[in-house]
């Protein structure tokens, strides 16, 4: 027996629009959302003392690494359709435009990705709620990197080696001086004290690849592309997207400009495209 009935009082509760900038600004300024990341060849090699209670909000960053900020208020570099449960008031997109470190206005930086629920920033239909991933990689911050090394004025000197036989504590004999080829000198560093440093041959680092050694196998994140519905050929003018949501947004933007393509294009995993190719 079919039936269709509605119970209770229909109430339309509308939350006021909200500008997300305040929450986003507070999150980016919060030192607790910042952390440091060390290059592979750098080991901290010190233990830190506990900070006094008065400095509980101070986050210490390692000076030889990069600074990383992650916030979970909203995705950056993405057009927002909503802000959580709220309609948007104010800008609907926060694009990372520039980064500066101290007086350096052009440091290297790269976006940092983390998993956020699509419902945080998109209006999803019931079908989309079921078909989309619960969490998708989104831009949540930056890694402000200074990968270069800076040093004082260099002084190079040629090296001469001398073999000396020590016959006793008061008598030695020189076997003459000679100059070593540079290649041989560099090869010898592979058996020097630094090469056998216990910093790299003990503990967890014993089982990790040495700095400078390329990894034999690396897993890549899943990416998405826009492809045609009939033969899965790549759509013209589209890129490769880290999340399905970003690909869908690019497709929606394209369809708004080119309605004739509606039904001809779809979003698929890049791996599916590779299999077809």
């Amino acid at each position: 027996m079919d039936f269709d009935a509605t119970f209770g009082e229909a109430r339309g509760i509308e939350l006021p629009p909200l500008d997300p900038w305040g929450a986003l600004k507070a999150a980016l300024e919060d030192a607790r959302n910042w952390s440091g990341r060390l290059p592979a060849a750098v080991v901290a090699a010190v233990n830190l003392a506990a900070l006094p209670d008065a400095a509980h909000d101070v986050v210490l960053i390692h000076p030889s690494g990069t600074a990383v900020v992650r916030q979970r208020v909203l995705p950056l570099n993405k057009t927002l359709q909503r802000f959580g449960e709220f309609e948007l008031a104010g800008p609907d997109r926060f694009e990372i435009g520039a980064v500066s470190i101290g007086a350096d206005t052009t440091p290297q930086w790269q976006p940092v990705y983390d998993l956020l629920p699509p419902s945080l920033s998109e209006k999803l239909t019931d079908a989309e709620k079921l078909s989309r991933d619960s969490y998708e990689p989104e831009v949540v911050g930056i890694e402000a990197g200074v990968p270069d090394a800076v040093h004082g004025g260099a002084k190079a000197v040629d090296v001469e080696y001398e073999s000396r036989l020590v016959d006793s504590t008061w008598q030695t004999r020189s076997q003459g001086r000679y100059k070593l080829p540079r290649d041989m000198q560099i090869a010898l560093t592979a058996t020097g004290a630094r090469a056998y440093s216990t910093l790299w041959s003990t503990g967890a680092r014993k089982f990790s690849a040495s700095p400078g050694t390329p990894r034999g196998v690396a897993l890549d994140d899943e990416t998405y592309v826009v492809a045609t519905t009939d033969d899965l050929s790549p759509g013209t003018g589209f890129g490769r997207y880290r999340s399905k949501g970003a690909a869908l947004q690019a497709l929606a933007s394209h369809l708004a400009r080119t309605p004739a393509d509606r039904g001809r294009l779809q979003v698929v995993s890049a791996s599916e495209l590779a299999e077809v190719a």
Binding site: E29, A40, R182, Y196
Partner: protein
């Protein structure tokens, strides 16, 4: 095969990498600050105009360091307990991490291209040491009390007694140094010396042991 080039050492008076390269306060005599703060700004572009935001990040300074991982030291001269060390060499330690001696210095090099390390090497004879504090259970370094500070290194000259040595580099620029640091790290070490002539007596040997030559931080 050799390309004809001969062996060489390249010495750098100081080396820094990472965020420390952007410290703006120059090294100057006197009390150093415990740590340095580095502003990192992000400009977000929106339809309503740019929205800048700045966070002041504190870099780990010498005052925050409680212990040093002894594995970062790859060589000591003289070795602990060595009694017949050549006294015409300065006592020194070598570090695995070539930027280690300047890593936590809360300043940048001054106009004279001088940057003091955040730690110095001290050599003392037994009778110059008044008392010792053993290491504590929470990992605090062992400490010594000296009878006179006259035998301690001049911290104002500490910049002269630390350097980086890179093997087979030749004339260096920043790109080549960085390439060596990342791809062939075994070619670069840091060295910290104590400019005090060793004595040919028994008391000099323990003075160079790791315990009594514990580095004193520039705080």
């Amino acid at each position: 095969m050799s390309n004809g080039a001969l062996a060489s050492y390249t010495f750098l008076p100081w080396l820094r990498r990472g965020l420390a390269t952007r410290i703006e306060r120059p090294d100057a005599p006197g009390g150093a600050a415990p740590r340095v703060s580095l502003p990192v700004s992000v400009r977000l572009d929106t339809s309503a105009g740019p929205r800048p935001v700045t966070a002041n990040l504190a870099l780990i300074g010498p005052g925050e360091v409680k212990t040093i991982d002894p594995r970062v030291i790859i060589r000591r001269y003289p070795r602990a307990g060595e009694l017949d060390a050549q006294t015409n060499y300065f006592a020194h330690v070598e570090f695995d991490q070539p930027d280690f001696p300047w890593r936590h210095t809360a300043a940048r090099a001054n106009t004279g291209d001088r940057l003091r390390p955040w730690l110095v090497l001290i050599v003392l004879t037994e009778d110059e040491i008044e008392s010792r504090e053993p290491p504590t259970a929470d990992g605090q370094l062992a400490a010594i009390h000296v009878r006179s500070t006259q035998n301690l290194p001049d911290l104002g000259q500490a910049w002269a007694w630390a350097h980086v040595q890179v093997s087979g580099l030749g004339p260096a620029d920043q790109e080549t140094v960085l390439a060596v640091l990342d791809a062939e790290p075994q070619r670069a070490i840091a060295r910290l010396l104590c400019p005090r002539q060793l004595l040919r007596v028994r008391a000099t040997a323990p003075a160079s042991s790791p315990r009594s030559s514990a580095a004193g931080a520039l705080r």
